[in-house]
């Protein structure tokens, strides 16, 4: 049964591909009813599907396609002219066909779900009784040889032999019945190839030839009969289909012989492109691997920079440079190449619109022409899949609300036929899709009053609104401008879904309109979902990436520019009042550092709502590759994903929409920076912790010795980095730190500056112990936050006194 499933799968893929083209061809056909090529192409689709489906035993589908085929065949021969009414029937049956195929795809059977009887009846009516269609007896065989050949190779000699024996008996039985019934009809075509096999195993080439001659004659005879008994054919076809299912198994030898007798299905060959079907998952895997490669490349570049600095002018640098740049070039090319494999032409989506617009215009009694351009523009597969629904809504809207009725249009001095243009083109890293109609346009005042009526905006808001903002009102949930709710649109849902769908793709919508001239809707969508432009910001020690598409602007503020209204922070920006929220509050970032002199506000917005996000600093703009957080962390509030930056660290990407929701419920704690560190009780000198930071062991010993009389607990660190880690680690809270200035890795000044960044270390005494005695050194010490400055050499007593004074005086942290 496995091979049957394989065949079924092939059949479905092929059928869906053909149907996609079919719709467009049909629409085209209506405009050019005499185009024989077109008719032939359409006929072939119906025909091929019929052939394959009868082979696969889908009776309902066969029944339907058979009738379609008859009608089309008649048209093809010029006995029937294609009128819109006939076209309606044909289109209806195409829809049924699609529905059946969908059903087969899901359930593996075409039974039960869809009633084709009425459609078949209408097709029959069109057909007007019996007609001659000798043409279909011959081509019917076409699909078979293909399928037959598929399986041969998988069978052993013996199996074939046995199968033939079995089939032979079965078929002879059938043959007899059939001849008696004299209504072989369809069966003849189907049966013929099988009859050949009867004896093939025992036959020579010549005998086969002769047998074929005989069968051919027989079939022609039967064909004639069949035409007389056409109606009765269906029942028999079913039976035959069953037999046909078995047939492929026995087709080992006759394959070459048959090719001589039957015309090869060459029509199909001409349309086949040179492609390979690849599972999308494989492409995704490939993309992941490339991502890792890119990461490796970035690190290589970084290391090269370091090496270059250290070994300036050395011979090997030049070679290394060449290797690094060629690796980076190839990696970038590879990344682009793989991304391209995921690209699909947007025509895949556009294809269904001609049909839709045709149906709509008939339904709405309007004359609408859809002009498509740029369908070859390519987009990432995942976006192509998402973009379909929003476009359907937009185009429906244009047809329903935009384009006027012919009378109206004539009265306005426009041609009676309205035009909807659908354009796609590239612009930088984005693709632009434009939907332009020459209809009645949007009236900003009408939109505003409508929105007020529905309570979506206040009068004040309406007054301040620009025309562009007014156009955007149509994307508000619950907004519908159609006076009358029609079948097509005006249910008040749709356009807001459009907006949210486009935003999900990180896209932007723009509307431009002029009353009585028409409306232009512009969708700007990134080429791929996997890579986005982002603004990197930092909050305390953490970095976050904000999708640049949602960033409106950034401003630098001082803390006193932040005002408070009803317990919320707000910022007056030009003539607007913007509500503010600190990113640290949203993400519960620990406030280890105090706010600097300046803060930055990133103004993020989705459509009309915007808020200001306070961050500590802006890092810059960067193109980031989006990675999923996986099942375990999926859907954390406010986080859309993660990315890996050049240094190998993970940076989280914020979800702007969710962030704006979160902002509503978060209270600002901007000023809660009071030092709340509990001062633990100090009972004995040993409760005091002193940290000595010096790279020289001798110096540390000297200081330790000097402090011994105090009886305090002493910790040591050999450089700034170690000291900082020790302090951050928090296992001990230090009451004073003795700092040498000149140390490897991080010197004393830097260490002091770093320590002072932490809120909790604001008041820890930092005592510089150094041989640097110049005034500028002292000044610098004060600047970075040193409390005392002891110059070497010093007497132990002096050091003891200074330390004792500092810790004694500062027990309450009141320096």
């Amino acid at each position: 049964m496995d091979e049957m499933e394989e065949i079924l799968e092939d059949f479905l893929v092929e059928a869906f591909e053909m149907i996609e083209q079919l719709d467009n061809d049909l629409i085209e056909l209506e405009n050019a009813p005499d185009d024989l090529d077109l008719l032939n192409r359409i006929f072939r689709v119906a025909h091929t599907i019929k052939g394959s489906s009868s082979f696969l035993n889908f009776d309902v589908l066969t029944h339907l396609t058979h009738h379609m085929e008859d009608v089309l065949n008649k048209a093809r021969k010029g006995e029937l002219s294609i009128t819109p009414d006939i076209m309606d029937v044909v289109l209806e049956s195409t829809d049924k066909m699609k529905a059946l195929l969908e059903h087969i795809k899901e359930t593996g059977s075409d039974q039960g779900a869809i009633d084709v009887a009425p459609t078949v009846k209408r097709l029959e009516a069109v057909l007007n009784g019996e007609t001659c269609d000798s043409a279909d007896s011959e081509p019917q065989k076409e699909p078979e040889p293909q399928e037959e050949q598929k399986d041969i190779s998988e069978m052993s000699e013996e199996e074939v032999e046995a199968e033939i024996e079995r089939l032979l008996a079965q078929r002879q039985e059938e043959d007899r019945k059939r001849r008696e019934a004299k209504k072989a009809a369809e069966a003849a075509g189907k049966e013929a190839p099988k009859s050949e096999e009867k004896d093939l195993s025992e036959m020579s080439e010549e005998e086969v030839e002769a047998e074929i001659e005989r069968l051919l004659a027989q079939r022609q005879e039967e064909d004639r009969k069949r035409r007389e008994a056409k109606k009765a054919a269906e029942a028999e076809a079913k039976k035959v289909a069953e037999a046909a299912k078995e047939a492929p198994k026995s087709e080992a030898k006759p394959a070459p012989a048959k090719k001589e007798t039957k015309p090869a299905p060459k029509e199909r060959k001409t349309t086949v492109e040179q492609t390979i079907r690849v599972d999308v998952k494989r492409l995704d895997d490939l993309m992941n691997l490339i991502g890792e490669l890119v990461l490796g490349k970035n690190r290589l570049l970084k290391i090269y920079d370091d090496v270059e600095e250290r070994y300036e002018g050395e011979q090997f640098l030049e070679e290394l440079n060449q290797v690094v740049s060629s690796v980076s070039l190839v990696t970038t090319d590879l990344q682009i190449a793989v991304m391209k494999t995921r690209m699909l032409p947007i025509g895949k989506v556009f294809n269904k619109f001609p049909r839709m617009v045709r149906d709509l215009s008939r339904e709405l009694h309007k004359e609408i022409e859809l002009v498509i351009s740029g369908e070859e523009t390519e987009l990432d597969k995942s976006i192509v899949e998402e973009i379909g629904d929003p476009l359907v809504h937009i185009i429906r809207n244009s047809c329903d609300h935009g384009i006027e009725r012919p009378e109206e249009r004539i009265a306005k001095g426009k041609p009676p036929k309205g035009t909807v243009q659908l354009k796609a083109y590239n612009e930088g890293n984005h693709i632009i899709i434009e939907i332009v109609d020459d209809g009645k346009g949007l009236d900003p005042d009408m939109l505003k009053s409508k929105a007020m009526e529905k309570g979506l905006i206040s009068e004040k808001e309406a007054d301040q609104m620009s025309d562009k903002e007014a156009y955007m009102l149509i994307f508000k949930p619950g907004f519908s401008t159609a006076a009358q709710v029609t079948n097509v649109s005006g249910r008040g849902v749709g356009m807001d879904v459009v907006r949210s769908n486009i935003e999900k793709l990180n896209g932007i919508i723009e509307i431009d309109s002029e009353v009585d001239k028409g409306t232009t809707l512009k969708l700007k969508i990134p080429l791929t979902l996997a890579i986005i432009q982002s603004l990197l910001v930092s909050v305390q020690e953490e970095y976050y990436a904000i999708p640049l598409a949602s960033v409106l602007e950034t401003v630098r503020i001082t803390p006193d520019e932040i005002q408070s209204v009803e317990g919320r922070s707000v910022l007056r920006l030009r003539d607007e009042v913007l509500s503010l929220v600190h990113l640290a509050d949203l993400f519960d970032v620990e406030r280890v550092f105090s706010m600097g002199e300046h803060a930055y506000v990133v103004i993020i917005g989705i459509a009309e709502t915007k808020i200001g996000l306070i961050v500590d600093s802006l890092i810059g703009q960067e193109e980031v590759v989006i990675k999923s957080l996986g099942e375990y962390l999926k859907g954390i509030e406010g986080i859309a994903g993660a990315t890996i930056r050049g240094d190998g660290r993970v940076t989280l990407i914020v979800d702007v929409g969710a962030l704006m929701d979160m902002a509503k419920s978060v209270k600002s704690s901007m000023e809660n920076l009071e030092d709340t560190a509990a001062v633990s009780e100090k009972n004995s000198p040993a409760d005091y912790n002193i940290l000595i930071v010096d790279d020289s062991k001798t110096d540390r010993s000297i200081m330790k010795k000097a402090l011994e009389p105090l009886g305090v607990t002493i910790s040591e660190a050999t450089n700034g980095v170690e000291a900082l880690n020790l302090m951050k680690d928090g296992s001990k809270s230090f009451d004073a730190v003795l700092v040498d200035i000149e140390m490897p890795r991080m010197d004393g000044y830097t260490l002091a500056a770093e320590i002072r960044k932490f809120n909790k270390f604001k008041n820890v005494p930092l005592i510089a112990v150094t041989s640097r005695t110049s005034r500028s050194d002292r000044m610098r010490g004060v600047e970075v936050g040193m409390t005392e400055y002891i110059t070497k050499p010093y007497t132990p007593e002096y050091l003891t006194n200074v330390v004792a004074r500092n810790i004694n005086l500062n027990v309450e942290h009141t320096s």
Binding site: L586, K627, S628, L629, G630, I639, V650
Partner: protein
């Protein structure tokens, strides 16, 4: 053609039968490690790799035991502190600390452990189901392995990787 097929089939059958005949008892290979003062183990097949601690990024809006996410050769994986998950204080990183990357089906996550102990083989018969009292609602303990001188709690890999927030 048929002969060949038969041979292949025979061979397959033999292969299918062979292990059954040769099998005496199921042995599970475990990797033991310390979390706090207690020794735990997970089946070796559940472990993708064990790495030394690397930098991680805090993930907001998660329980405290989810330390954040880290980059394992291009994949972003969650990092979970087993000490905190078991109700102990946060791990202090030292040179014995390891990230154990555990995989079940498509789910992967890193777990912070204090120290690796050893890999052991244990017969399935020597594993008792977790005692009722120990069996909390999360089902984290798969069973208790009896060894000569000690007991090891064997963790349920699937439950470890289950999101419970």
């Amino acid at each position: 053609m048929n002969n060949q097929l038969e041979q292949v089939l025979k061979k397959q059958q033999q292969q299918q039968h062979a292990p059954q005949e040769g099998e005496i008892e199921n042995v599970i290979q475990l990797v033991g490690f310390m979390v706090g003062d207690e020794e735990f183990a997970v089946p070796i097949l559940g472990i993708q790799e064990i790495i030394k601690p690397i930098e991680y990024t805090r993930a907001p809006k998660t329980p405290p035991y989810v330390l954040g996410v880290f980059n394992l050769r291009g994949s972003v994986l969650p990092l979970i502190d087993l000490r905190m998950k078991f109700g102990l204080s946060k791990s202090k990183e030292n040179e014995d600390t390891r990230y154990m990357v555990i995989k079940h089906n498509d789910e992967v996550a890193g777990f912070v452990i204090d120290r690796l102990t050893q890999a052991t083989r244990i017969k399935e018969s020597a594993i008792d189901p977790a005692p009722e009292t120990l069996n909390d609602e999360q089902n984290l303990i798969y069973g208790v392995g009896k060894q000569k001188d000690k007991l090891i709690s064997i963790l349920n890999v699937e439950a470890l990787l289950k999101r419970d927030f």
